[in-house]
């Protein structure tokens, strides 16, 4: 179709001069020692999926256990290890890496028109550090697990817990380190490796989002790294930093932890925003409404995100005045998110919407993230937070934003770019079904948890036999989780199937815009046959004439 119009140095029409990145060497060595960002991305996809599967198994155990007020199969001690494992894996090993290190790694250099990231060896190192982190994690889990909760609050983690805190902390430390390396690479690449003509405002919004994320990672992650090291020191040498018994201050840990971890939630959601921008524009076949606003709102979120960590500490005995300040800034940081949501909605207006499977995931994202974000407002509202904090309301809030927001977007992005990554088409109808089942299952799982939370069900509770009135919602939630497992498990099957008998995807199966669709699927090792020269604006669709064409085609079809 006509949308291959973005001017490039002319890579598109030529026949395969160089082999695709998948063909370029088949030995294990050629994968494990590769410097190619695309191969590293594939390695990341495999590892991240693996961690997601394990984290989900833990989630399954949690849900199973909570169907009965007095538990079903686990001891309290085990339960605590299970939810901690779930939290740590899902946050540090799945979601922080999920979008940037997989889709970002693959797409970002192509989107800016570069041959590779600026530091390919650093990129590979980042994957190895990630694997090393995984190994530490497994030592921790096989050695009996950790029971501190993913927040590692002191003094419990530093002096009281008899579990593998040290290993788990090292795991988180290394995982953070690996994300720093990726971030560093992204920043340099975005600044310095853009193709000729690729100005800042021609960058796809995904790149903006990945860039903003990288800034957060660079400023935040070192802080958590050193904080976790201090916990280890306190455990090992009884260095009195966070535990009052020795003269330290436990709230200081919480400050340092959330100084990273609040920005970290934006590390998880910003790339998702980026993916959604791509999906909405390309499947509405229309330029994004208010490109600049969306681009800058990413930066605004990254910046403001560093000023709100204290909203996790409203009842932790931090100073009341500080609480007030954090509360008001939390509301300010909601504004850029609001801009994004509404701008995307306006993008669909007068587009030519294609309801293919990636778009279905994106639509799911809208509903779920909006609810998740708005319930975040209950929590940054100090009056209601005093009742809701640390209840299932919070569990529901963050699953809505993390699973309903980030994971949905990740899956949407994976569907969107799957043909590019593998060169194969998957079954689009199954993709739509999977998105619908997930959406339904998700709401059934987590909406009841809002009510549970307001009823007062505390999080991290193994038993609630003293409050049997909670059970009905727990049962609903577990039922929902089975649908959720179905919905999220399905892609594993049709994606795998597509590898074997999927139809070959052309360079641009979705008719989308962007440099990544200008090259072959899968792309050659250096991404383009020749460095592209970008002459056109980003998302350069023409909805009006496209609509004309569609209408005419329809009429012609009707005439016959």
């Amino acid at each position: 179709m006509s949308e291959t119009a973005i001017g490039t140095g002319g890579a598109e029409k030529k026949t395969h001069a160089s082999p695709s990145y998948l063909e370029d060497g088949h030995s294990i060595r050629s994968w494990l020692l590769t410097g190619d960002h695309k191969r590293i991305a594939v390695l990341y996809i495999i590892s991240v999926t693996f961690f997601f599967a394990i984290g989900s198994m833990f989630a399954g155990l949690i849900r199973l256990e909570l169907t009965q007020p007095a538990g079903t199969i686990l001891e309290s001690e085990t339960y605590n290890r299970v939810f901690t494992g779930h939290g740590i894996i899902m946050v540090f090993f799945f979601l922080v890496a999920a979008i940037p290190a997989t889709l970002g790694n693959f797409m970002l250099p192509i989107m800016v028109g570069a041959k590779d990231l600026a530091f390919p060896r650093l990129n590979l190192l980042s994957w190895y550090v990630f694997v090393a982190a995984g190994v530490c994690l497994f030592v921790a889990i096989l050695g009996g697990g950790v029971d501190t909760g993913w927040t590692f609050y002191t003094p419990y983690s530093s002096l009281y817990s008899n579990s593998q805190v040290t290993w788990a902390v090292f795991a988180a430390f290394l995982a953070g380190f690996s994300s720093i390396l990726t971030a560093l690479n992204f920043i340099v690449t975005v600044h310095k490796m853009r193709a000729p003509g690729m100005t800042w405002f021609r960058l796809p919004l995904f790149v903006w989002a990945a860039y903003a994320t990288s800034v957060i990672v660079m400023l935040g992650t070192p802080v958590i790294a050193i904080t976790l090291l201090l916990v280890v020191f306190e455990r090992a040498f009884h260095l009195p930093i966070f535990s009052p018994e020795l003269g330290g201050d436990p709230v200081l840990f919480q400050h340092l932890f959330w100084f990273y971890s609040h920005p970290a939630v934006y590390i998880m959601i910003l790339p998702a925003f980026g993916v959604i921008s791509e999906l909405v524009a390309n499947f509405s076949r229309k330029r994004v409404f208010g490109y600049h606003a969306i681009a800058f709102s990413s930066l605004a979120i990254a910046g403001l995100g560093f000023f709100v960590w204290g909203h996790h500490l409203f009842v932790s005995s931090q100073s009341m005045y500080e609480g007030v300040v954090f509360s008001v800034i939390s509301y300010l940081v909601a504004v850029p998110s609001a801009i994004k949501i509404f701008n995307w909605t306006a993008t669909i207006y007068k587009g030519n919407v294609r309801l293919a499977s990636p778009m279905m995931w994106a639509l799911g994202f809208f509903g779920l993230f909006t609810v998740g974000g708005l319930t975040g407002l209950f929590l940054s509202c100090m009056g209601t937070d005093i009742h809701l904090t640390a209840t299932y309301f919070i569990v529901a809030h963050f699953h809505y934003v993390m699973v309903g927001g980030a994971v949905m977007a990740y899956l949407g992005g994976l569907h969107y770019w799957w043909p590019k990554i593998t060169g194969r088409l998957f079954n689009d109808n199954l993709g739509k079904v999977s998105a619908l089942v997930t959406f339904f299952g998700f709401n059934l799982t987590f909406f009841p948890q809002f009510i549970l939370g307001f009823l007062g069900m505390p999080r991290r509770y193994h038993y609630y036999y003293f409050a049997p009135e909670f059970q009905v919602y727990h049962v609903m939630s577990t039922m929902g989780a089975s649908f959720l497992a179905l919905g999220m498990g399905m892609p594993a099957f049709y994606f795998t199937a597509s590898l074997f008998n999927g139809k070959k995807a052309g360079p641009n199966p979705w008719g989308a815009h962007g440099l990544e669709w200008q090259t072959t699927s899968p792309p050659p090792t250096f991404n383009f046959e020749e460095t592209p020269i970008v002459l056109d604006d980003v998302y350069d669709f023409d909805p009006v004439s496209e609509h004309e064409n569609n209408r005419r085609a329809l009429e012609d079809g009707g005439d016959q």
């Binding site: 509405s284 009341m320 005093i386 640390a390």
Partner: protein, 378 residues
Amino acid sequence: MNFTNFPIAPPSASTFAPQIDGLYYFLWIFTAIFTLIVGFFVVFFSIHYKEGSPADRSRPLYEHIGLELTWSVIPGILGLVFFYLGARLFIHMRTPPKDAKEIFVVGKQWMWHIQHPNGVRENNTLHVPIDTPIKLTMISQDVIHAFFVPAFRTQMMVVPGRYTDLWFTPTKIGEYHLFCNMYCGTQHSEMGGTVVVMPQADYSEWLKNNGMAVANLTMEQRGAKIFSSIGCDKCHTAEDTIHGPTLNGLYGSKRIFTDGSSAMANDEYIRESILKPHSRLTKGYGETMPEYANDLTEEQVLLLNTFIRTQGAIPAGTAGTTSNLTGAEIPSSGAKTNKNTAMSVNADQHGATPSTATPTIQKGKLSVGATAANEKNQ
């Protein structure tokens, strides 16, 4: 199990409750509005402007400062409104009135110690008078806990090395959940109990009697109370656990000790095991149990002994299935037990007349678990 009852709010039993509920529902209204707006437009546009649909696409919109300002300013202002309402309420909730009655709370893994100014102490239960501002001054002995009473809509972390406080004014008589709401280790979920709101007169009488309502209890029942109040039941449950052996069927049975010797469990042995548990350790256990030699009066030991004896009276077979030591109590009112699905624990039967509590009621409470378990077995 009750799957027909879908409670959506906890009982509202403090002056904060209506305010928080108001704010909460207010926020839900806006959540619903915005979700519906976004949901509606997204779905409507996707269908209306589906590729090939006849809808009009002329003059598409790419940039509109006015619109963008609208939807940043409106959420911004709304946010500030939410902030103001929340912060005002929060400051109110965090500023105890001068005349509040002070009660002291110490949290430790996994128990709440509560002390009233006149010295009356209780564990895992807090008795408070109605319509009186109460201020809890709290500290933790080990890790961070949080004192959370959903019915009062308030909570505060209990931090080691530093006092925190929490205040509320109860407005409704009854018994309410007390939860530890900050993860604190293995038995975090079981670190809780009950807050009992009583009429003021009853409360002062309760205080005067040293928190006593025990006049009519039998010795076993009083023993049972001590048994649970000092936490014996945490480790000595219906079956052997890693923490301690069961005491069901103990009395009169033969005990084997770590050094291989053995003895008959008689009164003397039980007394010794309470006061100096480490002198003869049951096979398979370490020195986990604290020594009570300096802590219990002889009277208390005697009461405990009479209670533990009754456990021995249960044939070992049923002991396992009745699943709790208090199974010794006569199951009194199965009907009442089922009411526990209501929001507050036994709110209907107990709180109204705590100081004159009759033995039946006490029995009813003590036997709750047993009756439930019995019903399950039948």
